[in-house]
Structures are given as structure tokens and as C-alpha cells.
Amino acid sequence: MTTPEIQSRPSAPQDVDSDATEQFLRLLGQHERMLAAFVMSMLPNVSDSDDILQETKIALWQSFDSFEIGTDFGAWARRAALYRILDFRKRMAREKLKFGISEENYRSLAKEFEDSTSITKNKFGKLATCLARLPDEHQQMIRMRYMEKMDIDQIASASGRSRAATYRILSRIRLSLRECVKREECRMMHALGDG
């Protein structure tokens, strides 16, 4: 299996093998959420991660011929996304448009993500449980961040806090959610007799 750098498929739509297309869409459908979560874990800004995700999907389609059916599509897709993220990083650094994570660190983070996919796959329910346990005021701030899509300044203004205080509270919420998810993981492992 080759890495999914772009290897152009035949360009005429009439050459499309509908089985391959269906297979591609099915696999992409199965792994799309995890792929999006991977890209956003590397690039937490939505606008950047949306662009990378879209570029990745096109690259995956263009190089689908080189994917070996039966191997791990998710891992293949995440490798393709990592290349796009590294390209993006180079472009931003060259044009001095953004400061961000180094290539070496991206590679380490991607490897660590890959090693923990079984944990991240089953996080949804635990996160929902932990969200429900947050105090009302903290739930409200999370709602502002993720439902209202507010930035720090907007949250600070809406909640009547300073910018620094808003950073502090959001940091506390993030850490407490993380601790709670970890506790839930342990609790479930014990419940399954694994712990």
C-alpha cells in the first residue's frame, strides 16, 4: 500500500468504476468522523481544519486506486491528512502568516493519536456524561464556545468577565472534563473486569 500522496485517477467521469466509488464513499462514511477529529486535534481552528479535511478527502479519492482493500482505511486517511497539515504548516511559516506547531511535534502527536485510537473512538458517551456533571455556569460557557461559536472576547463580554478570567475558567473546565473522562474510562474498565 502506498501513502496517499496524490496519484491522479483517470480524469474522465465516464471511466468511473461505480463499485469503487461506492466502496470509497462507504469507507469514507465509516471513518469520516474520526478523520475530522484527527485533523481538528492537530489544527484546533475550525476554518483551517475544514480546509485541510476537504483537501484530504479529494486527495483520498484521487489516490483511492492505491489503497489496498482490507487494510486500515482510517489510518491511511489520517496519514494523508498529516501530509496536508505539514504542507499547510510550511506554507504558513514561509509566508509568516501564522505561528504554530513544528513538523517534528506534529509527527509525534500524529503517532500518539494513532496509538490511542481505540480510546478516542469511544469517547462520545463519556464526554456527554461529563458535560452533564459540569456546574450550570460552566455548561453555559461551553455552550457559548460550541453552540454559539463565540471567541474568547465574546465569551468574556457575554459573561461579564475579563479576558484573563475567561481563559482561566475555560482552562479549568477543559481540565475538569478531561479528568472526568479519564475517571469514566477507569470506571468502565473496572466494570468490565479489565482493571
Binding site: F38, D51, F99, A128, L175
Partner: protein
């Protein structure tokens, strides 16, 4: 890793989310990630939680509410199974045929329109429409066209959308529907019905005051913006509904209906047939808090630049825009005088352009045309005079037809003209446009309109035209904003 570093890392992640990282932050972060495996784990945990919260927000909240309700036996019946099991094989056969057709069309789209695909992930396909007349939509309305996130505004008729997740949504009558992602939609007005396959975790339709999620079944949602009331009716299965303002939640079973008013979520009279909310047509009047500014007002202005600088191919009544390889490439320049809104706080900024035939004797392509709008960020360039504007001296111009100098201008969004039509209006409404106007300090803003795609061919070479400030009957390029009281001023 000490708690101080943990807090600092959290703060950096907030900055990454807001795309606001400084060089100093980046250096600190890179040192930490390189040298501390614990920091890498924490970073990944936190950014993955951020991704989960962002990608699954409505479902996470629904899940949380759903669990709470399910643990409350007196108020909830067991999950109702899909009663119409006999319909399933028929439904899925139909779906598989549709899926194959859709697959072929998607692949054609992936190959033929690479530039468009960079802007929007694929969410659903418009699979059917009947007697449909469309209002101003931000998405294509041609049947079998793959759709990304965006608004679909149907004036009358019916249409069916098939989501990549397998959900089928039927829209009917005067409806304003927004595709958000493969498991979420927002109904701004009218009625939508969703059929959700068993394989999906859940599908959510939000309205401004209610969030309705279903797993395996069928339900309809109606929203009346006049009295801000949502009505949710369950056809099969059960639906979990959350009231946006109060947080109150209820579960409705097959045959039941719920009504969300501006202040409460109530059991509704289910004897009234589906589509029971009368939704009065939207007023033709602008509301009192809406302000419009055109390029014909104050120090405003507009002009077309053409690479050849040959005035023979310009029309003072039109802004013409063309993407081609030759010297006939054109871009539109618009300047607005913000004097009338200076000192006011505003929101929902919108750029409105009026499409016009250009009367050049060439064919106009019957394809969707995508335009990008850029705002000139270097305010020292706002003083251009329309009569003196040339390709060489136009602010932030570069030679490429579809690009500008992004060190002096930034992208504010895109507009789609369906089927290359040359009548009606096209609008750009974006957070970026609103922010750009709010950041203005000299009372003038310059916008540049370029055509992204398709590139002109030998067969179809006519540029697209918009009425300029000198058109004798049509609305010139217009900025519309909604004033917001009691907030900070610009």
C-alpha cells in the same frame, strides 16, 4: 508537568481555537511538546475533546438530555420500534439505486469541479424536486448536485435531500432550510420532514427555539418565525426535543406532537394535521433596524478593471467580472461610505449584487458560477477614483483572474450564481464580512469581486454582469446591516 504548565497549555489551546497564537506562545508550546511526553498526551486529550465538542455539539447535548430522560421511568415509554418494517426493504432498495447514481455523480463532481470542492465538505445530495421555485439560496438547486453546508430556500414545490448519513429530508412549500453537517440541520422557516435510518446515531433538526433529535424513525418539524413557534410531530419512532431557551426537554412518541413557544415546551394537540402552523409570508419591507448603503451614496464608487485597460469592453452601467487566460479578465471594485452607520453597532452584514445581462454576443455558460469577495485591509488604498482605476493601479490587484494580493486584502466569502443566471440578486452574508466592516477606521471600505469558476472557455466566454451605481433602473451594489442597540460602537 506542573499545574501551572497545564493551565498555560489550556490557554494556548484556546488561542489555537481562535487562531490567535503569538510567536512567543508557539515557541513555548513547541519546547514543551518536544521535551515532555506528558504534555503531548495532555495536548492531544484537550484538542481531541475540543474536536468532539465542536463536531458533536448538538448530539452531545441531546445525548446528555436523552440519558437523563431515559433514566426517568414514569415519564418515558420504552423505545418504540419502527412500525413500518414492511417499507424498509423497499426503502433501502430505492436508496441503493439512488446511492449508485449519486456515487457516479459525486465522482464526476469531484473530478470536474476541484476548486468548488475546496470550499465545502459534501453533506447531502438534492435527489428530487417537483415544481420547485427557489429563492436566494447559497447552495446549488440542480437535482443530483452534491451539496456542502449552506442554505436552501424553496419558495414553492417540493424537494428531497439525501444526506451522506442516509437521512432523507423532504422540504415542501415556502421553506428556509440550512444544511450544517451529515447529522445536523437547521430549519429557519417552514416545514421539513426527516426519515432517519437505524444505522445513524441520531439526526438533529434545530430551529431557533428547539432542537429535535431522532434515531431510527420519521418526524416533521415546522417553524413559524412570525410567532417563533416550533412544532415537532413524530411519525415513527420517538424524538427527543430540547427547548433552546429554557433547556427543558421532552420525548415524543409515535403520533405525538410537541410545541416549542418562545418560553416553553408543551405537549401539542395531535389531532391537528401535519403542517398545521400557518406561516405568513415574509414582509417585503425592510425592518426599522436595517440600514442599506450603496456604492452611489456619499464617497462610494464602483468600477470594473480589465487587464487590457481597453474601455471598449467596459460598460459604465455594469460591474463585469471574468476569469480567463486572456487580457479580457475582469474584476469588480466596490467602495462603500460607512458614514451612515459609523458609531453604531451592527450585525448580519450582507453584500447584495443585482445580476444583469451583459449583452456581449457570446454564450453565457449555463453552469453554476462561483464568485469570491475580498476586502482591502490596507486602508491607505481606499482613496481610488473610479474614473482613474486601471489594472495596474487597482488596490491589492494581482494578474491572476481569481486572486488578489492577500497581504493587502482578505477573503470575506463566496457567492454562487445558480445556472449562470443573469437576473435577480445574489448576496454574500458572512461573519468575515461583518467583522471586516466593524474593523474599519476611516469610514470607507473597498471590496473586490472576482470570479472563481468556471474559467471562460472558447464556447462560453461572456463575462457576468452586476448593476453598477450608474445603472438607470437597477439596485447598485449594496451593503445591508442590521443595527444592534446598546452595544459597543465601531
Amino acid at each position: 508537568m506542573n499545574s501551572r504548565d497545564q493551565t498555560a497549555l489550556c490557554r494556548i489551546i484556546e488561542r489555537l481555537v481562535d487562531d490567535d497564537l503569538t510567536e512567543q506562545d508557539a515557541n513555548w508550546l513547541n519546547d514543551l511538546l518536544q521535551n515532555d511526553p506528558e504534555a503531548r498526551t495532555l495536548f492531544l486529550d484537550l484538542t481531541h475533546d475540543n474536536a468532539m465538542l465542536y463536531l458533536n455539539w448538538p448530539q452531545l447535548e441531546q445525548h446528555q438530555n436523552h440519558n437523563t430522560l431515559q433514566s426517568d421511568p414514569p415519564s418515558v415509554s420504552p423505545v418504540a420500534h419502527h412500525a413500518a418494517t414492511g417499507l424498509r426493504p423497499y426503502f433501502w432498495n430505492g436508496v441503493s439505486v439512488l446511492a449508485v447514481c449519486t456515487c457516479i455523480l459525486i465522482s464526476a463532481w469531484l473530478w470536474s469541479a476541484p476548486r468548488q470542492t475546496t470550499h465545502a465538505p459534501f453533506v447531502a445530495t438534492l435527489t428530487h424536486s417537483s415544481n420547485a421555485r427557489w429563492a436566494e439560496s447559497t447552495l446549488p438547486t440542480t437535482v443530483h448536485t452534491p451539496l456542502g453546508p449552506g442554505r436552501m430556500r424553496l419558495k414553492h414545490g417540493t424537494c428531497t435531500l439525501r444526506y451522506t448519513s442516509g437521512v432523507e429530508v423532504l422540504l415542501s412549500g415556502d421553506v428556509d432550510f440550512e444544511l450544517i453537517d451529515s447529522s445536523t440541520a437547521k430549519l429557519h422557516s417552514g416545514v421539513a420532514k426527516a426519515k432517519v435510518p437505524k444505522s445513524l446515531d441520531r439526526f438533529t433538526i434545530n430551529t431557533p427555539n428547539a432542537s429535535s433529535a431522532e434515531q431510527d424513525g420519521e418526524f416533521s418539524v415546522t417553524y413559524n418565525p412570525g410567532d417563533r413557534t416550533s412544532r415537532i410531530r413524530v411519525i415513527e419512532g420517538k424524538v427527543s426535543v430540547r427547548h433552546q431557551q429554557t433547556g427543558k426537554q421532552r420525548i415524543a412518541q409515535k403520533g405525538e406532537a410537541l410545541e416549542a413557544t418562545h418560553s416553553d415546551l408543551l405537549q401539542a394537540d395531535n389531532s391537528i394535521p401535519e403542517g398545521e402552523l400557518r406561516i405568513p409570508p415574509r414582509s417585503n419591507y425592510l425592518s426599522d433596524d436595517t440600514m442599506r448603503i450603496t456604492t452611489a451614496m456619499g464617497r462610494g464608487g464602483d468600477a470594473t478593471i480589465i487587464m487590457s485597460n481597453d474601455p471598449t469592453f467596459l460598460d459604465p452601467a455594469l460591474i463585469t467580472v471574468k476569469n480567463c487566460e486572456s487580457d479580457y479578465r475582469r474584476k469588480g471594485y466596490l467602495r462603500f461610505d460607512l458614514k451612515t452607520i459609523k458609531g453604531s453597532n451592527f450585525d448580519n452584514a450582507k453584500l447584495i449584487l443585482t445580476l444583469q445581462e451583459t449583452h456581449w454576443a457570446h454564450l453565457r455558460a449555463p453552469h453554476d458560477v462561483l464568485y469570491s469577495v475580498f476586502g482591502v485591509t490596507d486602508e491607505s488604498l481606499d482613496g481610488w477614483r473610479p474614473e482613474d482605476l486601471r489594472w495596474e493601479n487597482a488596490p491589492a490587484n494581482v494578474d491572476a483572474s481569481d486572486q488578489v494580493d492577500e497581504s493587502k486584502a482578505r477573503r470575506l466569502g463566496s457567492m454562487l450564481v445558480i445556472d449562470g443566471r443573469a437576473t435577480g440578486q445574489v448576496a454574500l452574508q458572512s461573519k468575515e464580512l461583518n467583522q471586516f466592516l466593524q474593523e474599519d477606521t476611516n469610514g470607507l471600505v473597498t471590496l473586490i469581486v472576482v470570479r472563481d469558476s468556471p474559467v471562460s472557455s472558447d464556447d462560453y466566454s461572456t463575462p457576468n454582469g452586476f448593476a453598477s451605481r450608474r445603472h438607470n433602473s437597477q439596485l447598485p451594489p449594496t451593503l445591508e446591516v442590521q443595527l444592534v442597540a446598546n452595544e459597543e460602537s465601531i
